[in-house]
C-alpha cells in the first residue's frame, strides 16, 4: 500500500477537530456539572441571602451587623456605574462564573494531556493551531451556556426569593442589561484564552494551570464591573465583542507557539 497522501485543508482539519471537541464536551460529566452549578448557584445565593434578612451576627464580637443583601434580582447580574464595591452583591454575582469557566477550561484541556490523548491528536495533526482554535470555540460555547444558565437561575432565584425585578431601581435599562450580558459573555473569551494558555503551559500539571488561572482571574476581577456594568452601552459591547476575540487571538498565538516548541508528552 502506498501512502494516500491527501491534502487536508484548514477547514476540514478544523471541522474534524471541532467534532472531536464538541463530542467530547457533551459526553463529559464535568460539563453538565458546571452547567448545573451555573444554574443552581444564583438560585442558592439569592434564596439563601434573602433568609439572612439583611443582618448577621459577627462570631468574634457577637454584635449584630447589617449585611448588604440582594434587594433586586439584577444585582445578581452586575452593578450600575462600573465600580466594584466590596460587598456581598458585588462579590457573589455572575462574575463568579469567570472563575468557574477558567477551571472548566483547565479540566477540559488538562485531561487531554493527562490521559495521553494528545498522542492521538498530534500524531495526525501537525498544525497545533487547529487544536487551539477548536478549544477556544468549544470552551467559549460552554461559557456562553454557563452565562445563559446563570441568568435563568437568577430569574428563578429572584422569583423564589421575592426580589424586585425593577430595572430602573438599580439604575439600568432593559437595553443596558442586554448589552451587559453580551459584554460579559464576550469578556469570557479573555478568561477562556488565559486558562487555555495556562493549561497548555501546565500540560499534565492540572494544579498549576488551575492555580495560575485563578490567580490571573483575581487580577482581572476588578476590571469586570468596569468593562461590563449593568447599564452597559454600545461602547462596552463593542469593547468586549472586539476585545475578547482579539485577546483570544493573541493568546491563541502564544498557545500555538508553546505547543509547537515544547514536548507534548
Amino acid at each position: 500500500m502506498n501512502a494516500k497522501l491527501q491534502n487536508n485543508n484548514f477547514s476540514k482539519r478544523l471541522k474534524t477537530m471541532l467534532k472531536v471537541d464538541f463530542r467530547r464536551m457533551f459526553t463529559m460529566p464535568t460539563v453538565w456539572i458546571m452547567l448545573g452549578v451555573s444554574l443552581a448557584l444564583p438560585i442558592l445565593i439569592l434564596v439563601m441571602t434573602s433568609f439572612m434578612g439583611g443582618t448577621t451576627v459577627n462570631p468574634q464580637t457577637g454584635v449584630e451587623e447589617t449585611v448588604e443583601t440582594f434587594t433586586n434580582v439584577w444585582q445578581a447580574i452586575g452593578s450600575a456605574g462600573g465600580a466594584m464595591a466590596m460587598d456581598l452583591t458585588s462579590m457573589c454575582n455572575i462574575n463568579l462564573l469567570y472563575f468557574l469557566a477558567a477551571i472548566f477550561v483547565c479540566l477540559f484541556v488538562g485531561e487531554d494531556f493527562r490521559s495521553g490523548y494528545v498522542k492521538n491528536l498530534f500524531t495526525v495533526r501537525s498544525k497545533k493551531l487547529d487544536y487551539v482554535l477548536s478549544k477556544t470555540i468549544v470552551l467559549f460555547v460552554a461559557a456562553v451556556g454557563m452565562f445563559v444558565l446563570y441568568f435563568v437561575g437568577a430569574m428563578i432565584g429572584g422569583g423564589i426569593a421575592g426580589l424586585s425585578f425593577d430595572v430602573a431601581a438599580v439604575g439600568a435599562t432593559a437595553g443596558g442589561i442586554v448589552a451587559c450580558m453580551i459584554s460579559k459573555v464576550f469578556f469570557a473569551l479573555v478568561f477562556v484564552s488565559i486558562a487555555l494558555t495556562l493549561a497548555v503551559v501546565g500540560k499534565q500539571r492540572l494544579w498549576l494551570s488551575i492555580l495560575g488561572s485563578l490567580a490571573a482571574g483575581m487580577l482581572l476581577f476588578t476590571m469586570i464591573p468596569m468593562m461590563t456594568p449593568l447599564n452597559s452601552g454600545a461602547f462596552n459591547v463593542v469593547l468586549c465583542v472586539l476585545g475578547g476575540p482579539l485577546f483570544a487571538v493573541g493568546l491563541g498565538a502564544v498557545s500555538n507557539v508553546i505547543l509547537n516548541k515544547t514536548s507534548l508528552v
Partner: protein, 300 residues
C-alpha cells in the same frame, strides 16, 4: 520508496543526549524491529517521528516529505507507551473521538472492524479505566489501526499480551505488511519480534549500532554444535584446543562449539580421542536475542 528516512537526528534533554546523530531507514512495507536497551532512545525516536517532541537537530522524512507535512501525518497510526484514551470514557466513545479526529466517514463500521481485528468486540462498552493491562494494549493497537494508516509506530505493543494476543498481533502485522503497511515496532520480547520482523535496527546510546534485513541477520548469526557430557570442564578444554571458539551456555547447561564443524565430527572427536561420551548433541543457530546480547557485550 522508504517510508521513514532519518538523518543525523539529535534530541537533547538538558545535558543528556537521548538521540545522538541517529540514521535510520525503514523501507515501505517493512516490519522494522527497533531494538535497544532501556534508555537507548527508542521511544524518544518514535515520539520524534510522530511529532510529539521536537528534535534538537537532524532530519526526518516520511515518504520523502518532511515529517511535519500534514499530508504524511494523517497516515500514521501510533501506540507509544500506554494507549492515549480518556479513562472515564467507554472504549467505544474513545474510539468514536479518534474516528472523528481522523475524519473517518463510516465511523461505527470502522470501529467494529478494528475492534474485531484485536478480538475486543465485546469490550466496546467497558470504561477504559476498567480494562485489564492486556485489554488496554489491544485497544491501543485498535486505536492505531483506525483509518488504515500506511505507517504504524508501535512502542512495546506486546507487553501485557497473553499468548493468544501475541499470536493475533503477529498474524495481523504480517498481513498488514503484506498489503504494504509499514510497521515500526520496538519490543524487548525479541523472540516474538524475530518471528515477524523483515528489518532490524539496533540502537545504543541514541546511535544506530546496526541496521540489517532479516536475511542479513540470518547470515550474521553463526551456527554451532551444542552438546552435553558428564565432564563439561574437561570437554571444554579439549574442544577449545581443537575447534577454537567454545562457550558454556549457563541457561541451557551446554557447551557450544562454533565454527565449520558438524555434530558428528565433534562427538566422534571427543569419544575416539578422549573417551568422553556425549549425552546430548544438536546443531543450532544463534537467535536474535543471543545475537543482540553478543552485540551489546562487544561494545562494553
Amino acid at each position: 520508496m522508504n517510508a521513514i528516512e532519518i538523518r543525523n537526528l539529535t534530541k537533547t534533554f538538558g545535558e543528556k543526549r537521548a538521540v545522538d546523530g541517529l540514521n535510520m531507514t525503514v523501507p515501505q512495507g517493512a516490519i522494522y524491529g527497533f531494538i535497544g536497551e532501556n534508555g537507548s532512545g527508542k521511544s524518544t525516536t518514535e515520539k520524534l517521528i510522530c511529532g510529539l517532541i521536537q528534535p534538537s537537530g537532524g532530519e526526518i522524512k516520511l515518504w520523502g516529505k518532511d515529517y511535519r507535512d500534514q499530508t504524511v501525518r494523517s497516515q500514521i497510526g501510533v501506540l507509544i507507551e500506554a494507549p492515549g484514551c480518556y479513562p472515564n470514557y467507554s472504549v467505544w466513545n474513545n474510539m468514536k473521538l479518534q474516528a472523528a479526529n481522523l475524519g473517518i466517514e463510516n465511523e461505527d463500521q470502522e470501529i467494529r472492524r478494528v475492534l474485531h481485528l484485536v478480538r475486543m468486540d465485546g469490550a466496546a462498552s467497558n470504561k477504559f479505566k476498567n480494562c485489564s493491562l492486556g485489554m488496554k494494549q489491544r485497544i491501543g493497537i485498535a486505536f492505531a489501526l483506525l483509518g488504515n494508516p500506511a505507517l504504524l509506530v508501535l512502542d512495546e505493543p506486546i507487553n501485557g499480551l497473553d499468548a493468544d494476543g501475541m499470536r493475533i498481533m503477529r498474524e495481523m502485522l504480517t498481513n498488514l505488511s503484506r498489503r504494504g503497511t509499514t510497521v515500526l515496532i520496538s519490543s524487548h520480547i525479541l523472540g516474538e519480534l524475530e518471528k515477524i520482523a523483515t528489518h532490524y535496527g539496533i540502537i545504543r546510546g541514541g546511535k544506530m549500532l546496526r541496521e540489517m534485513t532479516a536475511e542479513e541477520l540470518n547470515a550474521n548469526c553463526p551456527t554451532f554444535v551444542a552438546l552435553k557430557t558428564d565432564d563439561m570442564q574437561k570437554a571444554r578444554a579439549i574442544l577449545e584446543r581443537a575447534f577454537g571458539r567454545v562457550e558454556y551456555d549457563e541457561d541451557h547447561g551446554e557447551l557450544r562449539v562454533f565454527g565449520k564443524t558438524t555434530a558428528e565430527d565433534v562427538a566422534k572427536y571427543l569419544f575416539e580421542n578422549f573417551g568422553i561420551a556425549v549425552s546430548e548433541i544438536r546443531t543450532a543457530k544463534i537467535n536474535l536475542e543471543e545475537y543482540y546480547i553478543d552485540l551489546m557485550q562487544e561494545g562494553r
